[in-house]
Structures are given as C-alpha cells and as structure tokens.
C-alpha cells in the first residue's frame, strides 16, 4: 500500500521564514498537554507549519488550535469526551470529581468555621442562622465520611500494589498526603489555641458544633481571609500566625494533589469504580445541601451590622460562588465518568 503525499509546501531549505513558521507551530503546540505533545507533537507541528507556509498566519487557525488544545487538556482530567482508554478516562474523571469536591469542601469549611466560631460567642439574631449551621454541619460531616469511604479502596489498591512490589508509583502521592495531613493536624491543633473559644465556651451549647471542632476548623481555614487585601492589618498578626497562614494552604494543596494522584494511578476494578461513582453522587447531593444551608445563612444574616459575628461579607459571597462552580465541575466530571464507565 502506498502513501499518497501531495507536494509539501514546506521547503527543505531552512530559510528564515520556514524557521519562523516552525517556531510559531511549536508555540501553538503549548496549548496541548505534555502527553499529547509527546505522541502527536512532531507531526502536528509539521502540519501547522505547512498550513502557515501555504496560507499565511491566521488567527482563526490559532484559535482552532487553542480550543482543541484546551479540550485535550480538559479531556486529560476527565472533563470532556476522552481519547484515552475507558479506565483511564474514568480515573481521570473521578480525580476531577475529587478535586472539585475538595475545592468546594474547602470553600464551605471556611464559611462554616466562621459561623461555628460565631456561634461559640454570640446568640444568633435569627433562627435561620442556627438552621443554616445545622444544615452546613450535617453536610460537611457526611462529606468527610464520604471522603474516608472513598479513600478506602484507593488506599487498599495502593497497599496491595506495594505488597506485590509495584508501589513505586504511589510513593510520592502517599508522602504528599501524609505530610500534608501531619502539618494540618499538628498546626491546626496548635493554632486553634489562638482562639479563646477552644474547648468550648460558656455559650457553646447554643451551637451544634463542639468548641474544639469549631476552633480547629477556624485554625485550618484562617488563611481564607480578606486580611490579605489589608497588609497593614495583617502586619499586626504574630509572625508565627502569618507563617501558618502561608503553610496551611500549602499543606492542604499537598493533601489534595497527593489524593488526586493516588486516584489517577490506582487501577481500580470496575466494581470499585462504580462504588466511587455512587459515593460521588451522594457527595454531589451533600454539596448541594451545603450550598442550600449557606444561602439560608446569607439570607438570614442580611441585616447584621458591621462587626457582627454572623455578618456575611464579600469573601463569603465569593466562597458561595466557588462552591457553586465546583459543584458544577463535579457534575460535569461525574457525567463523563459515567460515560467512560459505560464504555468500559
């Protein structure tokens, strides 16, 4: 069988124009993920260079390459139809579900911690705030339990691979998760003492959350604050606290990154994948319930004056927006996991 090849428009002379076209093609390639570039990069760059030589530079072509490259990147994380095999597609989608759930959980935890600590100190002016807190607390508790249940098969798969001597690929993600959790727990326990409500307060019974839990939540999310926009006020903080506010998000990032990498690398059985999807569906419902609770809070606290502990600010509304976007991301990724599992 012969290969039909039209006359190539690219000369082999290597003149400056040809090398400019090749350089432009190489730059356009950067829209694509590395794995895609390794597989298709050379031939794709040749095609683009030939197109430019024949028809000249064109923004429509650049836009087409950019959109396709971004779609390839989204496909790599299970957010669009996936060119990889069904198992890899399902794992990538699940990892994205986990990352979106973690983002939503973090944004939610920051809002929840503010409210939980407020309830340690003040009687809420509106019954809606207590209702919101109960809804948000229940949703976060279920989400935490779902996270543990979801981690079990992944940890089992990684441990089984390690026992068989194939655990090398899990080593770094496991180190990231362990180190991040260690920093978070130790640091959170240390800095929760910076909040006088630690261990429960005189008024603690009016809230459904134990004082120690509220204080730990506050310590672990104190870096999500509008103080970053007010350096003068931030400068009054103790240096160790500012250091913690920088270290804490790094630790959380390590935990999420490590967990996502573990999920992507673990060769889960179809049954385990279905189990993870089942948990993801419940997590989606819980996140929606949390958003409902947060909306109740925003509506109930609408009239609270400046400085009131239950007052919602721009950062809370931003948190709500992040929650909503993460929830949509969860739903989109879950849809592609289901499609991939259907093909598996």
């Amino acid at each position: 069988m012969t290969v039909s090849v039209p006359a190539p428009p690219t000369g082999d002379g290597g003149d400056s124009r040809t090398s400019q076209h090749a350089a432009l093609a190489r730059r356009l390639l950067l829209w694509y993920p590395r794995a895609w570039r390794v597989r298709y990069g050379d031939e794709f760059a040749e095609l683009i260079a030939a197109e430019i030589t024949e028809r000249g530079p064109c923004w429509r072509r650049s836009a087409d390459v950019a959109v396709s490259g971004l779609r390839a990147r989204l496909a790599g994380v299970g957010m669009t139809g996936h060119p990889l095999d069904a198992g890899a597609a399902a794992r990538a989608g699940l990892a994205t579900v986990a990352a979106c759930a973690a983002t939503a959980g973090l944004a939610g935890a920051a809002m929840w911690a503010q409210l939980a600590v407020g309830l340690q100190w003040s009687v809420p002016p509106d019954r809606g705030i207590t209702l919101a807190m109960d809804l948000m607390s229940a949703a976060l508790l279920v989400l935490a339990m779902l996270g543990l249940l979801a981690a079990a098969p992944v940890a089992w798969t990684a441990a089984a691979a390690a026992v068989r001597g194939h655990g090398r690929q899990f080593r770094w993600p496991a180190v990231l998760v362990t180190a991040g959790l260690l920093v978070l727990v130790v640091g959170g326990h240390h800095f929760e003492n910076g909040w006088p409500g630690t261990g429960g307060h005189l008024l603690a019974p009016q809230g459904s959350v134990p004082g120690g839990v509220a204080a730990f939540g506050w310590a672990a999310t104190m870096w999500i604050t509008s103080y970053w926009a007010h350096p003068a006020a931030l400068g009054a903080f103790p240096a160790t606290q500012i250091a913690w506010m920088v270290l804490c998000p790094v630790a959380i990032g390590c935990v999420v990154t490590g967990a996502v990498q573990l999920l992507r690398r673990a060769q889960l059985s179809p049954r385990a994948l279905r189990y993870e999807m089942w948990l993801a569906n419940i997590a989606g419902a819980e996140l929606a319930a949390f958003v409902g609770g947060a909306v109740v809070w925003v509506l109930s606290a609408g009239d609270a004056g400046p400085g009131a502990p239950f007052r919602t600010g721009a950062i809370d509304r931003a948190g709500l927006a992040i929650l909503a976007v993460a929830l949509l991301g969860c739903a989109a990724a879950a849809r592609h996991v289901r499609a991939a599992a259907g093909h598996g």
Partner: protein, 116 residues
C-alpha cells in the same frame, strides 16, 4: 436489539463534535494512508471543506483511540494514518445511513419542488 452493525454506526456518532470530521477523514483514508497535510488537501478536494489543524487532530486522536485508524511506521516527521477493519465497517454503515438520508431528501425535493 442492537446489531453489531448498528453499534459500529454509533461508534462514529459517539465522537461528539468530531463525528463530522471523522466521517471525512475515514472517507479520505478509504483509498490509502495519508498524513495530516495530505488529509487536509484531499478532504478539501472532494468535500470542499478545509479542516483546521486542531479540528483535524482532535478527530484523528479520537479515531485512533477507538481503533478506527492506526498510525503507519514512517521515518518522516509527518506520520501517515490508515483505515482499520473496524474503521472500514464504521464508515460503511455511516455512509449507508447518509445515503439513505440523501436519497429520501432528493426524492422528496423532486416530488414537491421538481428541483432534480
């Protein structure tokens, strides 16, 4: 109950926004292997459509992942692709369904509008 033939037809449709370019690519490869630039020129000549590079390679990537085409070993940087048996079956079913649509449309146009 679905027949294997019907499954092959749907295989092309499951390529989403790439299903249109996929039909053109498979048709182009039906007479032999071609690399990206050759595909672009051939498709332009028989369909009057110029596939942009990103669109072309998005469809190629998916077709290869679905086993409908495969890369041919080449020393050249411009790697050629060829149709597989799976791709040939999918293309046949796809084109037959397209032909049926075309025949119905043309017949009705002839009956009602006397345009053919």
């Amino acid at each position: 109950m679905d027949t294997p033939r019907a499954d092959q037809s749907r295989a092309l449709e499951t390529l989403g926004r790439s299903s249109g370019p996929a039909g053109l690519i498979l048709s182009s490869l039906a007479d032999g292997p071609k690399h990206g630039y050759a595909l672009t020129k051939d498709i332009e000549s028989f369909a009057g459509v110029r596939l942009a590079p990103g669109t072309l390679y998005e469809a190629l990537t998916r077709l290869e992942a679905h086993g409908m085409i495969e890369a041919v070993e080449s020393q050249d940087r411009r790697r050629p692709y060829r149709l597989t048996a799976t791709g040939a079956t999918a293309l046949t079913t796809y084109l037959e369904s397209q032909r049926k649509v075309a025949e119905v449309g043309l017949r009705r146009l002839a009956d009602s509008w006397a345009l053919t």
